[in-house]
Symmetry: C2
Subunit: 199 residues, 2 copies
């Protein structure tokens, strides 16, 4: 039989697609294997169970490391013009969220966050709180430097993130992203937020 290189990766990729589309329980090993192009028994050469496939996906995408992915040098240079900074930051976030794999992963998380597959906690809050921490730091610095009003950074972070997240969630259902419309909404939000916090 031909050795198809990268079968393991293909299984993970296919499984993410199907899990994100129909949910973990509604997706069978046979569904996955059929799409990969192998028999279901061959899957077990790469993963010892369906749960292990799921957990591998979680582990693969769990590490967002937002700081690295978003905080580029060009962004940090815009810190002197806070409003621009916030818009650029938001758009970077939206672009990140709009990447197909991030989208699918978020869908999977939303669907399975309550199921606790194999005891492991699958939380959307985890991803969110990472983002909240980052925003809290940035906005906290802005407060400290007297760029914006003196408001508890945690509150600022929530107020900044929540509408962005909702915009994102809304456009995750309708698959045709229409990214320009999203960015318009983002800009409107940032303007509102900026007017709320500017001195």
């Amino acid at each position: 039989m031909p050795k198809l290189k990268g079968t393991k990766e293909k299984i993970l990729e296919t499984a993410l697609n199907l899990f994100a589309q129909s949910g973990y329980a509604a997706t069978s090993i046979r569904d996955i294997s059929r799409r990969v192009g192998i028999r279901e028994s061959a899957v077990y050469n790469h993963f010892k169970s369906k749960e292990e496939i799921f957990l591998s996906i979680i582990d693969k995408y769990r590490f967002l490391d937002l700081n690295e992915k978003i905080l580029s040098d060009e962004l940090l240079e815009e810190l002197t013009t806070p409003q621009r900074f916030l818009i650029t930051f938001s758009n970077k976030l939206i672009d990140l969220w709009d990447k197909p794999e991030e989208k699918k992963f978020m869908r999977l998380l939303l669907m399975e966050q309550f199921s606790r597959i194999s005891g492991r906690e699958i939380s959307v809050n985890g991803l969110l709180s990472e983002l909240r921490t980052l925003c809290g730091m940035i906005l906290g610095e802005m407060v400290k430097h007297g760029i914006i009003k003196k408001i508890d950074p945690e509150i600022l972070a929530d107020e900044f993130i929540a509408p962005l997240f909702l915009i994102r969630a809304e456009f995750m259902v309708t698959d045709e992203s229409s990214i320009s419309e999203v960015k318009k909404l983002v800009e409107q939000h940032v303007n509102f937020f900026w007017n709320a916090v500017r001195l």
Copy 2:
């Protein structure tokens, strides 16, 4: 055999509990019937399929009719003191969301919104947009009466709702509601929002 009154309701109630806990696909007719206290075949005296149970649940809880549930007379009297109004409004919303059945229904919606069980669209956005419309109207009136800044009511609605929704979503995972903590967060949000929109 004894006739147990209300079996149909009991099935719906049990099914909602299990669907909201583990998801539709991971819940079996046997799970449901066992908890109801009948054999799985007896379920089919009341519903012709598993899907019909699911759709019955959706139909039962779909009609929130927010206006009726939230807009009480006492609330409307507070319209002269907008900040108080917003806090009362938010707390009413949180109380509504905190009702066990609403909570479970929202969980179910969050889990199954992407699955499109039996073609029927199951959207969280539907519930959200109803709320957004209501808030848009209220805030639009406030703008028109010169109570708050002149900002697009749709934007105002989004900015007002999003943090509330996120607070809600966050406390849906940790089942111990700690409603007082939620209300503190809500109050902080309303204060932020009020300061952003006041003249």
